[in-house]
Amino acid sequence: MDTKWNSMDKDPGEALERFVAEEVREAVEAGKTVKVLRPGGRVMAFAAFLAFFLGVTLTLSSLGTAANRVAWERDPVPRFAEDWQETERFRSEVSSYLRDFLTIGAGGRPDFYCYDYWLEAEEGSELGCVLQEDTVHAVEEAGDRWWTFETIDKGTSGTAYVTGPEVRVDLGSASSSSASVVPAPEKERDPDEAFQNDKNVLYFIETADRKTYSNAEGGRSFFQEAERLSGAGTVDFSTGVQGQKDGCNFFLTFQNGRVSIVKDGVSLDVYGNGFYDRDSLWFVPGYDNFPVSEDLEGVTVHMAVRQDPIRYYGVDYRTGNSYSSGSMYSIAQQVEETRSFYRTQAALFAAGLACLFVWFCLRKHRLMADRKIAAWTCRVWTEARFLLVLACLWWAFLPGIANLDFVYELLYGYGYGWDGGYSFTAWGMAVLRLVLSNVPGLLALIWLVWLIRNDHRHNPREARRSLLRPFFRALRARDLKRPVEKRLSRRVALFVLLAVLLAAEMLSILINMTLIGYPSWLLWTVYLLPVLLLAWAAAALARRELGLAKDLGRLADQVEAVRAGDLSKPLILPEDADLRQTAERLNDIQAGMKAALAEQTRSERMKVELVSNVSHDLKTPLTSILSYAELLRQEENLPPAAADYARIIDEKAQRLKSMVQDVFEVSRAAADQLPVQPERLDLGKLLRQTLADMDGPIQRSALAFKIDLPEEPVMITADGKRLYRVFQNLIDNALRYALEGSRIYLALKIGEGRAAASVRNTSRTELPEGVDFTARFVRGDASRTDGGSGLGLSIAKSFTEACGGDFRVETMADLFTATVTFPLS
């Protein structure tokens, strides 16, 4: 019983998967191609791919967008604050409000301030810049977020970067959009006129001469009430809201030359160690090195800021100036926006990670989706892919590169750095800004690259489509095929191009002259004729030359074909071709070769047939001769002389018999028609067997055999019977021609993967120089009176070679050596 299906502790899905895998393996082993449809395979594949796509897209895009924002804000620490009142900007805004209120309190009138906290100034800590009315030259909108200004008196220009449209150029006295500020009569206006409509900042100012200004309902009592509600350290629980009055949670009081701040019912430390420096939070009078001036003696200022600034609009009809939410609202908005931006990106990143996790769990299923996509993308031409990648690159990086400032920053790494001058961090941020200038474009590029990679992974190279490839391939193949033709064509093309250019030049001169009113009919006839002639000549020449080039190419092809042995097809060129005669000569050569080859083949075949027939035809009479010679020898009443003749006839007939057999075999071997049956055998054993087989003749001879054979087997692949004939012939040869009483050396050596068997003897007669002893009917002694057929060595050589070995004969003085070599197997 298979517990795999029944046990509860095991994952049934896993078991199913294993089962399916087994099925697939079996099918694959059986050589079948099966399409396994797992339950929900498609859905899983789609889900896996979707998770992968979303995961990568979300994580990368959130990371990229956030990094882009960081890079743009030029601050290594993201401006991320939970409470907008805890920001540097809020504090400086409060400081400047207080400055204005103190100015009013001291009996003065606040100037127009530009609350441009983003303005880049020489001093990083100086967050505001005062624009004198007469220096304001122009404020113009250059886009949603781009404002430029120019100060004429300094002769410098710069660009202000703002994250919102609220650049406050004026505080109510001047037309907000007009560059020319019209000062209003001062006595008709209260000094706090600009602040009276502020709904986010409430104040109460009491001057030294007891004049009061306030925009809060109830004036002094509002702040007294507030103080009572949220007085330093005390919390009024009855209101339900801690330390608040009318939505205000931030209270600043300037009294007796000291500034005290209460926020959410908690008193804040304003002065720190009492010295104002860059690290000090509040730029308010009262420090040791920023003392309260005498003008502020007796001045009291209360101010309150709403926790959640509200948005409002209005127009002051006494002056005709419009006003709106004010800087506090914009600060809060901006902090809120930044906060929500980073939160959104973080959420997206988390979602992306979750998707990636899902993909990781389903990653095995994605392959199917990848294949599907690859099957679809393989239809897209390579050129289209190239253009798409180019477009994506363009889209992603062009905005960055097109802005020269970016490149400038990248090259020199300064200009907009936080510290000014060269800074590695600034350079890195500049690179980030350039790279991340278009995050969607970048993502598109990444996915495009992924698609192409996926395509390359799943589709074979041949499957890719290209518009230009066949063209290039044809060109290349053609180029390789007929180099001569190609070169000639190029030369002609160059010439024709020159002719066309010349003709065009002449024509344009003619036309020009006609246009400027030159008397021209004569000119035309004189010049047009040569132009036409030139064109005609060029065309005719080109045609002719191109034809020649083509013929030349065909001729070259034909020569190549003949060289390669193709003698069947003659080259037929047109009647009028320049190379017609040459082609015919070539055809003659081809025909001659063909005839010679046919003749050679025929004669070879005839030779073999002839030898075969002759040997058969010889055997029949030989049979009779041998039979009757035998009968004759058996006759008892023959005279002794006749008996001797009969013996001689029998002896010679026997020799004739063996010669016929040898001739037959050697001719078959020469025609490569000797049947061989190769098998693995021990060459040493074969030699021993041969020696044992020929023991009789060896013993009878007056020759000593010196035998040197290795004990271990020497395995080669050869036809044993044929090889036996080889060594039989060699030993026979040695017995027959060796000097009486001399020694015959038979040795078998192994080296370099080959086995070499050699038979060495001293010849009885002088060995002639320069004779190939393996040629047919050759003997050391040319008089041919001995018993040999003259075919022994020839047969040995042909048989050795038919078996795949080498046969070599060497002579040195009277020393005769025959060596048979075979590769070991």
Partner: protein, 233 residues
């Protein structure tokens, strides 16, 4: 011994020479000069054996052989000038009992004729022999119990060593024995340069059992490997 033998060859002189040889051995000889004549005469039940050439006019020897085989079962020896192994195999597979190449040795031919006739007439005894556990291979029959070897029914005398070698080969027809193994088995000694010794004995056995010891039909050398007993029908 007056068995009638049919000799067929298109060369009358060869027929005559064979006839003389066979008649001297005591056989009756009938003559035919082509395949058709051979067919006519072969049907005579008096004919006990046929010697037939392959290449003949009108009807070649092998075709004639096939036709004769349809009618009669008698020993046929093919005579041919074709000496290739393939020719021999073809002839034997067409139903020939023996294949002799031209030019033949008249004595050997006579011996082969005799051998075929003996086997043919002794066929009944051969079958009887099987029951007694005789080893039969072609014209040889060996009784392992009595260590008696008969060739064509005639007892062949072998020395004890020869008998051992013969028995080893006879019991394993077709199997190749290297000389060393034969030596070890027969002499019970480690073999050292034993090739000559083994070969000498094998040569002697051949001289006793083979019709032509120079071209043995039974004990053959497998060159470079060893020795074996050829299996015959």
């Amino acid at each position: 011994m007056n068995e009638c033998i049919l000799v067929v060859d298109d060369d009358p002189e060869i027929v005559r020479a064979i006839a003389i040889t066979l008649e001297r051995e005591g056989y009756q000889v009938r003559r035919a000069y082509d395949g058709m004549e051979a067919l006519d005469q072969a049907l005579d039940p008096a004919v006990k054996l046929i010697l037939i050439d392959v290449m003949m006019p009108r009807l070649d020897g092998l075709s004639a052989l096939l036709r004769i085989r349809e009618k009669r079962n008698l020993p046929v020896i093919v005579l041919s000038a074709k000496s290739e192994d393939t020719d021999k195999i073809l002839g034997l597979s067409m139903g020939a009992d023996d294949y002799v190449t031209k030019p033949y040795n008249p004595q050997e031919l006579a011996a082969r004729v005799k051998s075929q006739l003996r086997r043919y007439t002794l066929l009944g005894d051969v079958h009887a022999g099987e029951k007694q556990g005789l080893l039969i291979n072609g014209r040889l029959s060996y009784d392992p119990a009595g260590r008696v070897l008969r060739a064509d029914g005639d007892e062949v005398k072998l020395t004890p060593t020869e008998t051992k070698i013969f028995e080893l080969l006879m019991k394993h027809p077709g199997q190749i024995f290297p000389a060393e193994e034969i030596y070890r088995r027969i002499w019970n000694e480690d073999a050292y340069s034993c090739e000559n010794t083994v070969m000498v004995h094998i040569r002697r056995i051949r001289e006793k059992i083979e019709l032509n010891p120079k071209e043995p039909d039974y004990i053959k050398v497998v060159w470079g490997i060893g020795y074996k007993m050829e299996q015959h029908g």
